[in-house]
Each structure stands twice: as C-alpha cells, then as structure tokens.
C-alpha cells in the first residue's frame, strides 16, 4: 500500500512501496561496450544498488561511454533524525508585517549592503532580493521603509564590500555567489570572512550569502550567519534579519 513507513524511514519508490527504485546516469571514461556496462553495474553495486540494470550504454566518442542505469537502492533514511529543517509549518509574514515589526520591536532603520562579489557578474539573484520590484510578487528590501538597502551590484571585490559596510555602518551584509565551478564561490566567500575578521567587524554584522547552489550548511561551514538557495524570496531574508537582530539583542 502506498503509504509512508510509520516509523519515518523513507526510501525511494518506483512502483512498489519500499522498492528503492532509482535512476542514475553518468559517463565512464576509458571504457566501452560490455566492459563499460559491467563496470557501471559494479559501480552501482558499490553504491548499494541491487539488481542494477543498464538501460543504455552509448559510445560518446573520445573513448567515453554514457550510461543510464536503473536499480534498487538498499539504503534508506530516517527522517526522524533530520533536525533543524523547515517542516513547512513556519509561515513567514509579508513585507508590511515585517516592516511594522522592525519599527515596533527594533525601533530603527537597518542598513544592509549587498553585492555579487569578485568576478561573478550575476546580478539577477541579488537584485531579486534587493530591488524594489522583488521576486515572484514578493517586494524587495529597497521597498521596506525600515531597511536601507544599498545594492552595489556585481563584480564587486570583497575589499570594496567591507569598505562600504564600514562606511555605511551596515548591520547586514548580503552577498551573492552564482558561479561555483571549481568551488570558486568557496574561495571568494572565505576571503570575505577573513577580511571582515581582519578588520574586526565580523561580529558587528549579520553576514548572509545566497545563490542557487548555496545551502544553509555550506553557509554555516564558511562562517556565515545564514545561507539562502534557489527560490528565496526577499521576505524570507528580511524575516531572518529581523529575528537575528532581535536575538542578538537578547529579545527574540
């Protein structure tokens, strides 16, 4: 019967509950034909996939083989053990409410400096969060009466961001990173944290990073206060800022 395990153990599902059905694709270099097929099956075996079925095995030139594979994964996950994730029950208030709460509870205008840093030229994401217009019908930070949002745009060096934050007495720094190949974002973000620490201002600001491949874990790991990924709305960010500031002042 198509029902989740009552104990909170989840496992991929194809057409029989518990079947562990997964689809996999990858390219194997340096092999072809039957050997590639068998290599793919063995690889799947190591991944804990039973009955691996190579549904296609295409020679793609340069001595490489593209594999599509189906099989049944043995592993499962206990979702009872997953803590600290949004269970979808926290309803985030809209701009009006948040703006009002900033005034009420915090009683001051928050300055936030934002930029897409280093060689990254992708403005669309940071603009979606900061510009008036906002994103998906959710207004951007510039439109909040109680947030002074300074959008520095893209290709801004970490040094410039730090300088501007200090100059403007920013309480919040918002950085965007979209290009992630060879972990260039990790390098850029680490540098920013180092600079802030060198200037002894790290503790004085809320440091937020966003981008399509940013996760909250990565952000924490790199020393940020928060990380926002795909589909973030400006109100999510404003809500986080407000709460974190209140928390900092021991008023959360």
């Amino acid at each position: 019967m198509a029902q989740q395990d009552k104990k909170g153990i989840v496992k991929p599902y194809g057409d029989a509950m518990g079947d562990g059905a997964v689809q996999l694709s990858f390219t194997l270099p340096g092999v072809s034909g039957e050997i590639a097929e068998e290599a793919a099956r063995r690889l799947a075996g190591k991944m804990g996939i039973d009955d691996p079925y190579v549904s296609s095995c295409d020679d793609i030139g340069s001595e490489m083989t593209f594999i599509v594979l189906y099989g049944k994964v043995r592993h499962s996950v206990d979702i009872g053990q997953i803590k600290g994730f949004d269970r979808g029950d926290e309803k985030i208030p809209n701009m009006k409410v948040i703006d009002h709460m900033i005034e009420e509870k915090l009683g001051r205008v928050i300055t936030a400096v934002g930029a897409c840093i280093e060689s990254d030229a992708h403005t669309v994401g940071i603009d979606a969060i900061m510009n008036m217009k906002g994103y998906s019908g959710d207004y951007g930070l510039e439109r909040y009466k109680n947030i002074r949002a300074i959008n520095m745009g893209a290709q801004v060096s970490a040094e410039e961001v730090v300088r501007e934050a200090i100059r403007e007495k920013a309480e919040v720094i918002l950085v965007s990173q979209v290009v992630t190949q060879k972990e260039v974002h990790v390098r850029n973000l680490t540098r920013l944290v180092d600079l802030l620490e060198a200037e002894h201002v790290r503790d004085g600001v809320i440091l937020v990073v966003g981008g399509p491949r940013i996760t909250r874990e990565l952000a924490k790991e790199l020393g940020f206060d928060a990380g926002f990924g795909r589909g973030t709305l400006p109100s999510h960010v404003a809500w986080f800022i407000l709460n974190r500031l209140l928390e900092k002042e021991g008023r959360a």
Binding site: M1, A2, D15, A16, V54, S55, S56
Partner: protein
Amino acid sequence: MESKLGLDKTVIDECRGFAEKITGDLMGFIQSHTTDSVERAVTRLMGLDGTDRIGTPYPNVLVDAVKRSRGLGQGIAAASADLIAYTGGALADAVKAIADKKLKLSDVPALDWDKRVEIVRPLAEAGLAEIKSRADERNSLRAAYPMSGPPLFYVIVATGNIYEDAAQAVSAVANGADCIAVIRSTAQSLLDYVPYGATTEGFGGTYATQENFKIMRRALDEAIQREGRYVNLVNYASGLCMPEIAAAAAFERLDMLLNDSMYGIIFRNINTYRTFVDQYFSRMINAKADIIINTGEDNYLTTADAVEKAHTVIASDFINESFAQRSGLPPRLMGLGHAFEIDPSIEGGFLMELAQAQMIREIFPEAPIKYMPPTKHVTGNVFQTHLVDMMFNVCSVMTDQSIHLLGMLTEAIHTPFVGDRYLSLSGARYAKNTMRGIGDEISFKPDGFIQRRAREVLGKAHEMLAEIVDISLVESLARGMFADIHRDPKGGKGIDGVVKKDDDYYNPFLEA
C-alpha cells in the same frame, strides 16, 4: 473545420461504404451466435456476482453448469428464469446451491418463453437502470467539474497492486492527468473469467475486477473534488471476457474502455469468431453505459512497419467505426486509435506523422480519437526517449487530438514509475500550454510533402478496404493484412466458447 490536407471526400465516403460492407458480412454470424462470456455478462447485468468457495466466479459456475447440462443455445437468461422459478429465491442463491452441489440443473424444468421473459425482464431492467444512474451521475459530475479541453491527458498505472495504483493515480491527477487507465496483468486477457475482489498481485498490470474498479473510482472521485476537474477512469474490455468487463465497468462508472473489434484476434491469438461476437455485445453495453471505447490500431505499428503500413491503421479505424455503429455507439463514444510509431531516425518522419495525425483528425471529426505514444523505437536512454515523447506532444497539439496517451521516458524499461508519470505530465502540459492555438495558425503547403503523404496513405487504405470487401475480413486476418500477423479462423483461444443460438434464444439485453 476546413481540411488542411485537401483530402478527397469521395475517397473517404467510399472507405466508409467498404467498411460497412465488410462488417455487414459478419453480422449474420454475430447475430446467430453467442459466447460463454456474452452469457456470463448477461448474468452480471442481471445482478449476479460473487464466487464459490474455491474462487470461481458465480457467472462462470452458472454458465459452465448450464453449458454442461443443457447447452447455451437458449441463452443463460432462459436458464436463469428456470432456476429462479424452480428455487423461488434469488439467482445468486440458486447458483450457490449449484456450486455447493446442492442443486442439479438437470432437475430444473424448462419454462416457456413468456414465463421466462416475465421473470428475467425485471432483473434486466434493474441492471439497466443501475447503469443509467451511473451514466447520469457522470453527467452531473462533468457538469459540476468540467473536463480539461483537448487533448485529454491519459496515463496508465500498472503497479500490479490496486492500492499503489490508486495512490499513483491521485499523484497523476494532481499533475494534470485527465484519464487514468489501469493496465491489466499480463495474464488476464487469456483468463476465461473475471477475477474477483481487491487484488495486489499482478504482473505488468493490475487485475481488472469489479472491486478494483470501485476502489479506483472512489480514489478518483475524491481527486475530482479536490482538483475541480473531471477525471476519467479507463480499463480494458478486451481478451476473453470483453462483455463481462464491459458490464462491470458500466456498474462502476468507468468512462472509457479499451475495446477493439480485432485486437484480441491479432495480438492475443483469441479466436476470430469469438472476438467478433464478444465485441458486438460488449459494445452494446458500452453504448448503454455511455462509455467511450478506445480501439487498438496503435498496436499494428509495433509489429508492422510504421511508414509502409500506416494505411492499415486508417483501414482498421473505418472497420472499428462501422462495428461500433452497429452496436449503437454514437461517434462521440468512438475513441478510434492511431499511433506515433515512425522510427525517429527516419528523415522527415515527423512530417509524415503530422500528415497522418491530421488526416485521422479530419476523417473522424466527431470522434474522440485517441493518439498513442511512441513505444517501439524508443530506447533505454530515457533522456532521448523523453524527447521523442515531446515530439509526440507537439504533433498532438498541432493536429488537435482528443485523447492523448502520454509517452513515458522509461517505456523501453518498465511499466511507469510514479516519477516517470510526473515528468511525462509536466512535458505534456508544457507543450499544450506553450503551443496553444498553433493548429489554427499554421497551414500546410498545397501539394507539399505533408499533403501528398496524407493522400497516399488514404489511397492505400481505400485499396486495402476494397480488397477486404472481396476476400472478407476473416480472410484478411488469415492473410496477415493487419500488423503482419496471420490468424487462422479455426484456431486461437476461446473457440470452444462460441455457441450457435437456438431459435428460442433469449437475451433481454438485446431487446432494450
């Protein structure tokens, strides 16, 4: 709708005329014969249901017993009347007594015709009234929750477990499905009985049982309310039990049934005559229940070449149309089939598909034609198969198909997983929405490749039908003219179940 293909109307009319002759030639046989399954369907329509202790359905118990003792020539209705009169109770009780060996049919005296009619007619009327009330129910639901515009998205569920099927169907509805077809277990079409009760163990599909129909209908009716859109339930009145499944479907408000006049012959090696008799009666039931039939022409191009044998699809559509009409089905219930089966590696293949899909649309303007996805030439490279399915979506929208069975990216691998169906529905919705109105916007070059292809295929269908008029449909099947498969009219499964009617044969459902 103006013709985009410049098809010759007289050729089309002649095709229809040929088809009428072809099916007409068989009506003598059809009307003078009945089958085990027709008779079992009659018992079901009179309200008989349930099984004996070892699981044999009562309709089988009764029909087999009658067949053994006095034969089926008079019809099961006659025997039922006799039984009811003799036992003085309900038919089911009498059958139970037979199953329990407490009652011997040879002890039951035969009533005269009028008496039999008097006893059976109320039962038949109750059955028909029940069916009618189901059809009315459908109409009011469709008024309250209108269906999507064409093409209707049709997906199959085939887990083998009716409860998994239901959960997967509900997911499909949430993602835009308009029709849910529960594929039957691989073995079922050759069973000479309809399994009973809720089932959870099928292979490549789930057993068609009346209880399973009910479970799925309930799940879909809830989904209809939630989504605010009518969703059609589909199953198979095909195989050795066509008429019985039609009866069960009528009671459970199924909306569509796979029901072809020749599929069983060609693809399941069921006896030719058995099939012709069964299809006739099953379609009569469908007509009463207002159920759309889906014919099986798509299958032809899985065994025959889709480029060279495209005309066999059209020819068969004309034949299915004519048979359907003879059973009383109006065009709005004729879901004639065709398929997108041209090898994707053929240059210009899509243009041929456009021509053929458009042609069928124009030849059967009132029919809710059913367009079937690529299956044979797709591969286990699911990404590529997904694209072939997308081209099918494109063709469907461009040519305004009515029912669109969605292709699945895993067609070459397994019956659809729940995630496969989601991906497929997302793609089809995308095509329907982004291309909305394209059919109206484009026209085809006069005498261009597309128009010429359509003309050629229609011409060949015309020729083929003319030939069948000469040699008979039975002979054409023997010669492998459909799907390249040859079927000896004296062979095939279920031949023993074909029975000549006596002069005093009685079947209350042939009257109404």
